[in-house]
């Protein structure tokens, strides 16, 4: 039996009078990579935040390795979960290497500085994300794509069991999109688990084992990409017409070409 690492049980989130999530169930096993898709405002970010324990749930609960996340020690939670925030602001012009070192925070006591072992993790993370050459640069001078990868390196340096990434590839060129997805894929293959919010449906279908489709805070379906992405569902959830094509490797590619008649 595979180990259930992280599980949202009937999670509802409300902000003011708006219901962001409505009784969503979602579980994540070791070695799995789940793509979270859905239109803007469908609750992807809220679900990720709730699953990291940053968002209070109005109903339901999140379980990390069989333990209610609200009862977990925050440092233990920080070690297990790597959260890659959507905005990814960095507030001071820190050197890249020091920024990636911040990923070691949950492993350090308050007064400790990163030791040699921490340094090695940082170096591995820099290599994995192809940011080694940026090590001495100042983070505010990086391009959007470079910054995304450096922030991913920060998450990897913390050696989490699960990575929760909120649209990490939105600002990247195709080569670096593939690179980031490959690193996450590798991370899952090595026994980790990934849950990633994505807008690019072709990439989601290509890299994720399963897709979870959200609409207006409801989980519509969680299944293999081929079962989730159908013309009918793209029309009803996204309000688009799209061409679906399977190439010789059996990868699904999605090309939206028009709004549905109701959307017009």
């Amino acid at each position: 039996m595979t180990e259930r690492l992280l599980e949202a049980r009937s999670v509802s989130v409300t902000m003011g009078s708006i219901q962001c999530l409505n009784r969503v169930d979602l579980s994540l096993n070791a070695g799995e990579m789940i793509g979270l898709i859905g239109p803007n405002g469908s609750g992807k970010s809220s679900l990720l935040k709730a699953m990291v324990g940053l968002q209070k749930t109005a109903h339901g609960s999140v379980w990390l390795e069989g333990k209610n996340i609200d009862h977990c020690d925050s440092r233990e939670r920080g070690k297990a979960l790597g959260y890659l925030e959507q905005s990814g602001d960095v507030h001071w012009p820190l050197p890249v290497k020091r920024l990636v070192e911040l990923g070691r925070t949950p492993h350090l006591q308050g007064w400790q500085s990163p030791c040699e072992q921490d340094q090695r993790r940082v170096e591995t993370a820099l290599k994995q994300t192809d940011t080694w050459h940026l090590m001495e640069r100042t983070v505010t001078t990086l391009s959007g794509g470079e910054k995304c990868r450096v922030l991913l390196a920060r998450v990897l340096a913390g050696e989490p069991k699960i990575i929760l990434a909120d649209e990490p590839i939105a600002a990247l060129d195709p080569a670096h999109q593939i690179m980031v997805m490959e690193s996450l894929r590798q991370f899952a293959a090595a026994g980790g688990a990934v849950i990633i919010a994505l807008h690019d449906l072709s990439i989601a279908a290509r890299y994720c084992d399963q897709l979870a489709l959200l609409k207006e805070g409801n989980l519509i379906i969680k299944a293999s990409p081929g079962d989730v992405i159908t013309e009918a569902r793209l029309a009803s959830v996204y309000g688009i017409k799209a061409t679906l094509r399977r190439d010789e490797n059996d990868y699904l590619s999605v090309t939206p070409y028009a709004l549905t008649d109701e959307e017009k």
Binding site: K49, V52, G53, L54, D73, S74, R75, E76, R77, G78, K79, L81, G82, Y83, E85, S87, G88, D89, V90, H91, W92, P93, L94, P95, R98, L99, L102, G103, T105, P106, L108, G110, W111, Q112, E136, L151, R154, G158
Partner: protein
């Protein structure tokens, strides 16, 4: 890399504190040989000069170091917490809260009852200001609301101090209150020093362990929280520590402005912009700035003695202006 030069800057700042401390002992209306006076002290002889040294200049210099360090340290912690280079203990209204309560004590002459009342009132005012800011902003507040709350507290405190000056019973009281709110080191005694030391040390101690969490906060509150940092607790800890240390400082010497703003900002590039490394360096830098300012007010010839807070404000306010212009250019 600048970060490798940190030990050099630390050494330089420490050296400056020590040198300026000794200069501060020798500067004043009466000039005498420090060496000779120390020898007299060791021989347990009493003279006017040993009295001036022990009762006036020593406490004055020590308080300058302690208050300067407090302002520098708290400024660095505030800027790290709010992730805003324009923040300082003054911005949250801590200084003006402490100033208001001290002025109330002065106005009603309560300090005649016990000289303990003034510092206690200062700390109470600082704490009240922090609690008010907290009540106004709540747990999940943004940086803008915190700063706005600070502005509001500052305005209220300023209005009440103006009222006290307006209604003051005598021109003498007006002068005392006004001069006192400007910040002054010339009247401190050893008693003041012992009075302010306990809470100051508690405040410093509470801030020392915040470095790592402040570093993590560079990535934003959400990400810091995801790495196990309890942001709400960190905020409270820094608020309380600042109230204790700055409250004690303001109650002792009055509101000396801009050190907490200028020093962390100037020193930040020297430590690679890292909030954690900035804490200690800023404490040293604050001590250097206040010692230097206090030496300058004694050297600048003027009819009435120049107040040290006036000098720091004259240097600091244009610098504040420069920061605003600069941050406007940098931000999109």
């Amino acid at each position: 890399m600048t970060t490798q030069r940190v030990p050099m800057w630390l050494g330089l700042l420490m050296g400056s504190v020590i040198v300026l401390f000794f200069i501060s002992l020798t500067v004043g209306r009466h000039s005498f040989s420090l060496w000779q006076t120390v020898q007299e002290l060791l021989a347990q002889e009493q003279s006017v000069y040993t009295l001036i040294l022990v009762e006036l200049r020593l406490p004055r210099s020590l308080v300058a170091v302690i208050v300067g360090a407090t302002l520098g340290l708290c400024g660095a912690a505030m800027q790290g917490l709010l992730r805003n280079p324009l923040a300082s203990p003054g911005i949250l209204g801590v200084s003006s809260g402490a100033a208001l309560f001290s002025v109330i004590v002065l106005y009603f002459g309560f300090h005649a009852i016990s000289h303990w009342l003034l510092p206690i009132a200062g700390m109470a005012g600082a704490l009240l200001a922090i609690v008010l800011v907290y009540a106004l902003t709540g747990n999940d507040s943004t940086i803008t609301t915190i700063i706005l709350a600070g502005v509001a507290i500052n305005a209220i405190a300023a209005a009440c101090i103006s009222l006290a000056i307006n209604l003051a019973p005598s021109p003498y009281a007006v002068r005392e209150i006004a001069l006192w709110t400007l910040g002054d080191l010339s009247k401190v005694s050893l008693v003041n020093l012992w009075l302010m030391l306990p809470t100051t040390l508690i405040g410093w101690f509470m801030l020392v362990g915040c470095g790592q969490a402040l570093n993590a906060l560079s990535l934003g509150e959400q990400t810091a929280a995801s790495m196990g940092v309890n942001v709400a607790r960190l905020r409270w800890r820094i608020f309380l520590a600042t109230a204790l240390a700055v409250g004690a400082a303001v109650a002792t010497v009055g509101a000396i402005g801009f050190i907490g703003l200028v020093i962390p900002h100037l020193l930040r590039p020297l430590v690679g912009y890292e909030p954690r490394r900035l804490l200690f360096v800023s404490a040293l830098g604050g001590a250097v700035m206040l010692l230097l300012a206090d030496i300058c007010v004694r050297l600048i010839p003027s009819q009435t003695p120049l107040q040290v807070g006036v000098l720091t404000a004259l240097v600091g306010a244009p610098f504040f202006l420069y920061l605003i212009v600069k941050s406007r250019k940098e931000l999109p």
